[in-house]
């Protein structure tokens, strides 16, 4: 189950302060990077909910995010809904699709779950790619951002949009925490520990999994709609399975099952990527090596490592101690 520790609060405060500082001080490219980090952070939060707390390693979250972007674009520019309504609509659509995928895949475990989600993701990719109304390989443009001029905010300004995304990330984080702390979230952790035990207790296991997957889908859809607003253009590349793979990489890089860790991972991944791609076209090589080293190190990502090191000192309650509480209860 998810719990805040002093250390986690501290890291969140540092991240928040860093994001705010960047939002107000960065140049144009810096803002682009910040927005990229914020949107990726929302996606990996959603992924950590299912993968870190429920053991449902999904390789379709990239596709779900892409669907969110397409749903937002279709609802706002083709159906003609106002952008905020389209945002909510996109979240609902992706949430519903995710619920269905979760319900279907709930019976599969381990590698089969990974493959099943991959199959659904690829199905979505092929469908979007081949359907002319979505613009095929060339994608579609002309996507608008919500108009918040009524409250004096111009979202077409990169700085305002970055702050808008930051607010979105805070909301997504609070939502994820609320879900994980609810009865549903506790049931999910129980299932992660022992599915048989929870079934014996009379829990409908597949329902819990599907519900969490659906809620995670809502947040993913939100990230997708933000991505569409950010680039104001969408293409099938958003749904590619390597996007899902990269999202998993970010979760692992940061620290699985910690919610805070993936945020750290998103910051590290995007900055690493930009710094490297400026130096060498072979930056994937370095990312691959870093990933392998992180997984081999047995630490739970950057954040997990920090937590184990720094959290072990007296001033902060240890991660291990925190973990014990629900087990004893």
């Amino acid at each position: 189950m998810f719990r805040h520790t002093t250390f986690r609060y501290l890291v969140l405060a540092i991240l928040g302060a860093g994001a705010l500082f960047q939002a107000f001080s960065a140049g144009y490219f810096g803002l682009e990077v910040l927005i990229e980090i914020l949107i990726l952070a929302i996606l990996v939060l959603a992924l950590d909910m299912v993968a870190g707390f429920g053991g449902m390693v999904s390789l379709c979250h990239g596709a779900l995010m892409g669907l969110g972007a397409y749903a937002y674009a279709m609802l706002s520019s083709i159906v003609g809904l106002p952008p905020l309504a389209a945002l909510v609509g996109a979240m609902a659509i992706v949430g519903a699709l995710a619920w269905i995928i979760g319900a279907i895949c709930a019976r599969s475990h381990g590698i089969y779950f990974i493959m099943a989600t991959l199959a659904f993701g690829q199905m979505a990719y092929s469908y979007i790619f081949q359907t002319p109304i979505f613009g095929g390989d060339d994608g579609m443009g002309g996507i608008t951002r919500p108009d918040l001029s009524a409250i004096g905010i111009d979202l077409n300004d990169s700085r305002s949009f970055a702050l808008f995304c930051l607010a979105g990330l805070v909301l997504a984080y609070l939502a994820a925490v609320a879900v994980l702390r609810s009865g549903l979230g506790r049931s999910l952790c129980g299932i992660h520990h022992s599915e048989e035990r929870m079934r014996a207790l009379g829990l409908t296991v597949w329902r819990v999994k599907a519900d969490i997957f659906g809620l995670s889908g809502l947040i993913t859809g939100f990230a997708g709609a933000l991505a569409a607003m950010h680039v104001m253009y969408i293409s099938p590349g958003l749904l590619d399975w390597t996007v899902s793979g990269e999202a998993l990489v970010v979760v692992i890089l940061g620290g699985l099952g910690t919610l805070v860790g993936p945020l750290v991972g998103a910051v590290a991944f995007v900055i690493l990527k930009h710094e490297l791609s400026a130096v060498t076209p072979y930056w994937h090589l370095v990312v691959g090596v870093v990933l392998i080293v992180v997984v081999l190190s047995r630490a739970n990502g950057i954040f997990g490592w920090l937590e184990a090191r720094i959290g072990a000192r007296r001033i902060f309650p240890t991660h291990a101690a925190v973990k014990k509480v629900p087990n004893d209860a």
Binding site: G27, F29, D137, G139, M140, I153, S277
Partner: protein
Amino acid sequence: MNRFALAAVGLATTFAQPVSADDVKVGLLLPFSGVYASLGNDIEAGFRLGLEEFGADSGATFEVISEDTEVKPPVALAKAKKLILQDQVDVMAGIVSSGVLGALRDVVHAAEVPLIVANAGNDDATGKACSPWITRLSFSNQQVNRPMGSWLHEQGVQKVFTLAPDYAAGHQMIDGFVQGFTDAGGEIVGQEYTPFRKTQDFGPYLAKAKASGADAVYVFYAGGEAISFVKQYDSFGLKADLPLYGAGFLTSPLYVNAEGPAAVGIVAALHYVPTIDSDVNRAFVSAFEEKTGRIPSEYAVHGYDTARAVAEAVKAGAMDRASLGNALRQVSFEGPRGQLSIDPATNNLIQPIYVYETVAADDGLTQKVLAQLPASADPANGCMLSAVVN
């Protein structure tokens, strides 16, 4: 918050003045990683060569900033914004994939920065989505194929089966050909579109083409798919009974050596082949070969002519974004491809198209030019550009 944002914008504009009056900043947006990396490298090599040859003559110095688009629209967009807002470039060039071009179009248009398209062939970019700020010096998908349709009919081919990958460029290339071919009186007996970059085996489609009763097959494939396709077409022994024609990317000099003997005899149409018989082209080919050790492809010539166009525009007196954008629409010169000019109605390049056959020579494969088809402008297709300001 808004006050702060405004202050920052103000600050950035003060820095916007060019460092020196005769310094032109060029931003190159090309893929240096991902599936189109080899195209990006060829375009950049051509561009650098062109700048070396024509840059000094223009009276200005040039600063080139290269950015890797990774063929991903969001990445390309972030890099474009960096070039426009942070690096304050005077002109941008590059763009290999039409998807990336689609993503950048609105931004470039709104920011009023001239962009020279050095590859992406999407018809709409100089059609219904055209912009006075976007000038294309490469080709449009239909431009390459339309004249080939009527030429092929003139050669006595009556019935054709078409094949292409199932994505926008594939459809536009084939549509361009079909229009030219049917207008001339030809008949299309079958069409197939194969899943883009997911087709390992073209066998099923080739069998369909064979069973269709066509006189010839016309295809568009590029890159790795072109190699697989040409080899598989040859392995089924279809070339003898069912000659293969196509958009010239099929047997581009960049890939033709990987295709080997399977490519011999294929007749295709393209806007550039390295064997065009002109002094300008021979000079370009030898300069490029000396510099890179390889024969220039059509992609290299896009980069070369793009650099030349920038230099010509500067030479004509353009220095900032607005004047460069305007001057680029009026460039006209004789390049390796022949006489080039920009169509004022769409900002697309008007250029001759070459029909060539891939033939075996002593040192590998080469291109034998069979015909030079006259340059013609694409239909405006919904593009309404204001007239060029002189």
